[in-house]
Amino acid sequence: MTVHLYHWEPNANSGKPMLTLAEKGVPFESHYTDLLKFDQHQPDYLAINPDGTIPTLVHGARVLTESTPMMEYIDDEFEGPPLKPRDPKERWRMRWWMRFLDAYYGPSLSMIGWSVFVGPAVRQRPKAELEAAIARIPLESRRIAWRKAMFNEFSAVELDESRRRVRFCTGVLEQHLTRHEWIAGKAFSLGDVNGFNLGYALPLSQPDHCNDQKTPHIMEWLRKIYERPATKEVWKLGRTTMAERVKFLERGRNA
């Protein structure tokens, strides 16, 4: 049974199942879905995932649309190296951190990312075209997000709050990686797959807060994940300058 993965760049939510499949050694048919061309709101995609969110994993009759639970499915369903700790306490820590990354850290980073990358990338198109694109989005929360990005309607207050949270979380993550080698504890896990997708560009996007002097443990953790063969393989599937940013993690490059 072929695994079909509908994904955008190896980044954030799309990158989570991509890197998990690669770490497990599970071959998959890649369907590049261009977020910046609104492929995810076209009828053929909505027929697969009516929410119009990316990624979607299709395995036989099963359709999976939530990226973090999707990673656990891939780990449970397929052969290959286990990506969840055996110890229930470490498993709990892995899941707690994935939620912290997804629900607290991620949205703040994503808001900043959309204001500097996604918004400008689509904004030059005619207003009528953008309005029509918004009208096709099924979820209200996504309509609001796209409208803000397209028409640069981010308020200074909300961007400041996102920056505050990113600084705070970067400190919490650095402390965590001082106590534990990996997110869950002693071994690489889905928590690290999740964290890398969210944070691989932190040293570039937050150079004053994430660097070799202030956050040496985050830097070492990111470099170790960057050096894994699966990461190299997955980031080759990127088509924009966004994915290129991963090369900043090459050792010696910024020494």
């Binding site: 939530e66 656990e72 820590r93 899941r95 707690w96 629900a103 949205p107």
Partner: protein, 263 residues
């Protein structure tokens, strides 16, 4: 040693109680009064493993499980921990896909019901009590971290206007109707058997017919009402509700999950 730090058995607090009672394991209850901010004074938890995570826990308020020297926070992941780490009845779906459905359901309901139900419950039952108490604003102004302080402050500072509360009730429609539809396909939310997905949904759904009767009622959501009644008959659920000190646990709320700030 297994200890559950809990307040009145409603919403987040109800989940681990049900799971522990379903497992029939020995555990001690360490009671605190969440409406009186006693969760901020649990100094005996300092220095335990995962103290950082427990302090930051993202439901803002909620139960804590102490297993020997380790703290387990977040009621949803606590259910998984109880299911995976303790002996007794199996509470996890067996197939990887059913497990995915349990994870996805808990994530969706946690974000939707977990942010809306506590707001509606707090404004109906807790806010009037807080306003009648002297010095509450001072206590709230000292709460850390900032997100938890804001959750409490919003109950008093006029954030929740009548219009916002109407819209919160309307937004319950999507998650409640999603469960109604799922129950048309089978009696449980993730696979053929009762599981942590049902414990999670039950705890968050139970106050909805009271808080938003126009959203959950016999006519519009017969399956949800039957589901609540059916789970409510389980001995483990009855035992969990019976620890209530007030006699009406469904009327006790604290601020819940922060609404999504960004898509």
């Amino acid at each position: 040693m297994l200890e559950l730090y809990t307040s009145e058995p409603n919403t987040f607090f109800l989940k681990p109680l049900i799971a522990l009672n379903e497992k029939q394991v020995d555990f001690e209850i360490r009671w605190f009064d969440a409406e009186n901010f006693e969760q901020f004074a649990l100094t005996e938890l300092e220095g335990l493993e995962n103290e950082v995570e427990a302090r930051l826990h993202l439901e803002r308020e909620g139960p804590l499980l102490r297993h020997d020297r380790t703290l387990i926070a977040n009621s949803g992941f606590m259910l998984e921990y109880i299911a995976e780490a303790l002996p007794g009845a199996a509470l996890l779906p067996e197939s990887p896909y059913d497990l995915y459905r349990a994870h996805a359901s808990a994530q969706f309901l946690g974000a939707q019901l977990g942010s809306l139900v506590p707001v509606l419950g707090c404004m109906k039952y807790l806010a009037p009590k807080l306003m009648a108490r002297a010095g509450v604003a001072d206590v709230i102004s000292r709460i850390e971290p900032e997100e938890r302080r804001q959750g409490w402050m919003a109950l008093l500072d006029g954030t929740y206007t009548p219009e916002i509360l109407v819209s919160a009730r309307e937004r319950l429609e999507v998650p409640v109707q999603r469960i109604e539809k799922q129950l048309a396909e089978g009696p449980w939310l993730a696979g053929a058997d009762y599981s942590i997905a049902d414990i999670d949904a039950f705890a968050l759904l139970r106050p909805v017919p009271d808080l938003a009767p126009e959203v959950a009622n016999e006519k519009r959501t017969p399956r949800v009402l039957e589901y609540l009644a059916r789970i409510g008959q389980r001995p483990a659920v009855k035992a969990s509700l019976a620890i209530s000190r007030s006699g009406n646990p469904g009327q006790h709320f604290v601020p819940g999950v922060e609404p999504s700030r960004w898509g």
